[in-house]
């Protein structure tokens, strides 16, 4: 369908656009920005006065629970939730049940996403068989099947030699490697950051060194293997420093942060609030500031949701035993936008960290709205005040620390491949 969107405030960092203008979509591509020139006759004209237009969000780390845990969430429920939040592309780690390590699995997931008709899914293939860290997978075959990278998800690869070989093998075929870099020994059975909260609440702790040791190892391995790597879910200010050094040496390494690590600290756990139980854990104010600065300086280039939907019951347990993770699709943009609203980050920084940068890392042509690019975009109204509750939360997960809270800013329209997939 041909669509024109008039008078929206277009922010398209990849093309240096930050102004009120018109956008024209023909079929599934961007036809023109500003004046459509020829006698373009859109089927629909949308008034975006007072609203923002951003490229569709590319969420670099989201779990959809299908296959294997459909009682928690499904591809249908979560791609629909993604569309309602302006997320048009989802990168899924391979820790489904069974793990993504065969072409059949990749095809099945993509077919189900296509059938659902909301957002696109781009799976990561397993880095090692069964994510067990013992044996390489058929990475090249997985790449051919449509995997945009390989990863061992949250399972550490303890054996550094195997990790190096996995990187070397992936680099042979230019497959990006996605790493959750932490040392499993230092990580232990920890559930919160090692600091005053772990001390006061008597909870098993994860020291900062669990991450800085892991990041240092993986950077060293990248340097000697030729792989291009993405370190996802960075949580410590000191890890940002390691990424900066790597970047200064022109190593092919990028980093991402989960939005909740930008907004929350260990203090939010308060009296054992399990909704703030995440891995990597919420850390100190100093870390929070370091992560925000890392985004501003470009040492971290991506903000993701680290979406992990769970049933409410799984959070109603003693802290150590409660499920880990936040259902974050619905609130990704709203929460990231609060950093712009509070003047902590520039609008271009936040929007490129949600769109152009992750798209580039996985080699997608979306994430920017140049003429000829896919028509993946969203319309955002930063004045709408809404409450995250059973009627507004689209994810099947209910494990959000912001559930029941009043939030500001909402996606009012999402277009995926030229098709309106969400509108209020």
């Amino acid at each position: 369908m041909d669509i024109s969107i008039h008078n929206g405030h277009l922010v398209d960092p990849a093309n240096g656009v930050n102004q009120v203008t018109d956008i024209h979509i023909s079929r599934n591509r961007i036809k023109a920005i500003g004046d459509p020139h020829q006698d373009f006759r859109p089927k629909r004209v949308i008034d975006a006065k007072g609203r923002y237009i951003f490229p569709g969000i590319v969420d670099l780390c989201a779990r959809l629970r299908e296959p294997g845990e459909e009682h928690k969430a499904t591809i249908l429920s979560e791609t629909r939730a993604a569309a309602s939040a302006g997320i048009t592309s989802l990168i899924c780690p391979p820790d489904t049940l069974p793990v993504i390590e065969t072409p059949g699995m990749v095809h099945m997931i993509q077919e189900r996403a296509n059938a659902a008709g909301f957002s696109g899914i781009y799976p990561l293939g397993a880095l090692t068989a069964g994510l067990k860290g013992k044996k390489l997978t058929d990475m090249a075959t997985l790449q051919d099947a449509g995997c945009v990278g390989v990863s061992n998800a949250l399972e550490p690869v303890e054996n550094s030699l195997l990790m190096r070989r996995a990187m070397q093998y992936a680099s042979t075929y230019d497959i990006p490697v996605f790493l959750a870099s932490w040392d499993p020994w230092l990580q232990g059975n920890g559930v919160v950051h090692e600091g005053f909260i772990s001390t006061q609440l008597g909870l098993p702790a994860i020291p900062e060194a669990a991450e800085t040791v892991g990041v240092a190892r993986d950077i060293a391995l990248v340097e000697t293997s030729g792989a291009s790597a993405h370190i996802y879910l960075v949580s410590c200010a000191r890890s940002v420093s390691r990424l900066r050094e790597a970047r200064q040496r022109n190593l092919p390494i990028t980093g991402s942060v989960a939005v909740h690590n930008l907004l929350c600290t260990e203090s939010d756990i308060g009296e054992f609030n399990t909704f703030f139980k995440v891995i990597p854990p919420l850390r100190t104010i100093r870390d929070q500031e370091g992560l925000i600065q890392g985004l501003a300086s470009g040492d971290i280039s991506v903000i993701c949701s680290d979406h992990q939907p769970h049933s409410l019951d799984s959070k109603l347990a003693p802290f150590s035993e409660a499920a880990t993770g936040i259902a974050g699709l619905d609130t990704l943009l709203t929460m990231a936008w609060s950093l712009v609203k509070n003047n902590q980050l520039e609008v271009q920084t936040v929007i490129s960290a949600l769109t152009a940068n992750p798209a580039q890392i996985v080699g997608l042509e979306c994430g920017n709205l140049a003429v000829g690019r896919p028509a993946d975009l969203l319309m955002f109204d930063d004045r709408i005040i809404w409450t995250l509750d059973d009627t507004t939360m689209m994810s099947k997960g209910r494990n959000s620390p912001w559930f029941g809270h009043e939030l500001t800013g909402k996606v009012v329209l999402t277009i995926k491949n030229g098709k309106i997939v969400w509108e209020i």
Binding site: G195, F196, Q200, L316, P318
Partner: protein
Amino acid sequence: MRADFPVQFDQNGKLRHFLTIQGLSEDTLTGILDIAHSFIDFGKREIKKIPLMRGKTMVNLFFEPSTRTRTTFEIAAKRLSADVVNMNATRMSTTKGETILDTVKTIEAMHTDMFVVRDRASGAAQLIASHLPDHVRVINAGDGRHEHPTQAMLDVFTIRQHKQDFSKLRIAIVGDILHSRVARSQIHALNILGVREIRVIGPRTLIPTDIETMGVGYVNNMRDGLEDIDVIIMLRIQRERMDGQLIPSEQEYFARYGLTERTLDFAKPDAMVMHPGPINRGLEISSSVADGNRSVILDQVTNGIAVRMSIMAHLMGGQEKSKWT
């Protein structure tokens, strides 16, 4: 820095549960100690009962084994005329089987009035308290490594029996602070009561990071740590910590941090020796000190009954309380 503890108070700020010492006022602690004092002679009477909890049902719900704590709670409740049910429950971890909340709600459905809960997980008592109807009271009898608030209360009660003024006291806590719920509660209680100084002593592997944020100082040896000390609190070293990962050997530990007549001499001549029990003779404390005239270890046990009676009385409501003071 940290959020308040709303769970253990009702809307009017009145103490509803006894889950943590953190956030309690000096008046609350002193009030509990004063009433405990009035209960202390009860055990010596012919008839050891008062009808404060008559018709009420108290459930001792212990997901972890315990002898002395459970028994003193039982005796305390019975002296207040409550009906007591002891449950030594086991529970499956996480998703398998009945959850901890299901177990508690099932028992609550039998119209119980008070739960005394012990669990291996930090925060278990808070979780339970926040999911029960308003009229049900919860007392934390130890949650993981977090807190053991009634133990801390009986410890400060015992200190008050022997030492007059908290503001003059220097107190040392020796041993495994990292895994100790008792130490955390003691540190809060002693700070609220305004002691002059608290030191924690032990090898770094047994001291939590940022322990200074709790208002204590760290000393790595007994000689400096016990200097000018009025009260020495020894903590139990669990045998399962002795696998060479946190402490190299029993011999090295005892030589550095064991309380013996020699190391006791580093403290003030009238320093008292405490231990929450059960003690490991020859691992953290020598028999001669544990059984010596400076030790109040058995007084702590005796006092546990009066202090727990006082805490239960506090939670059961104000009107009855005034009748008995």
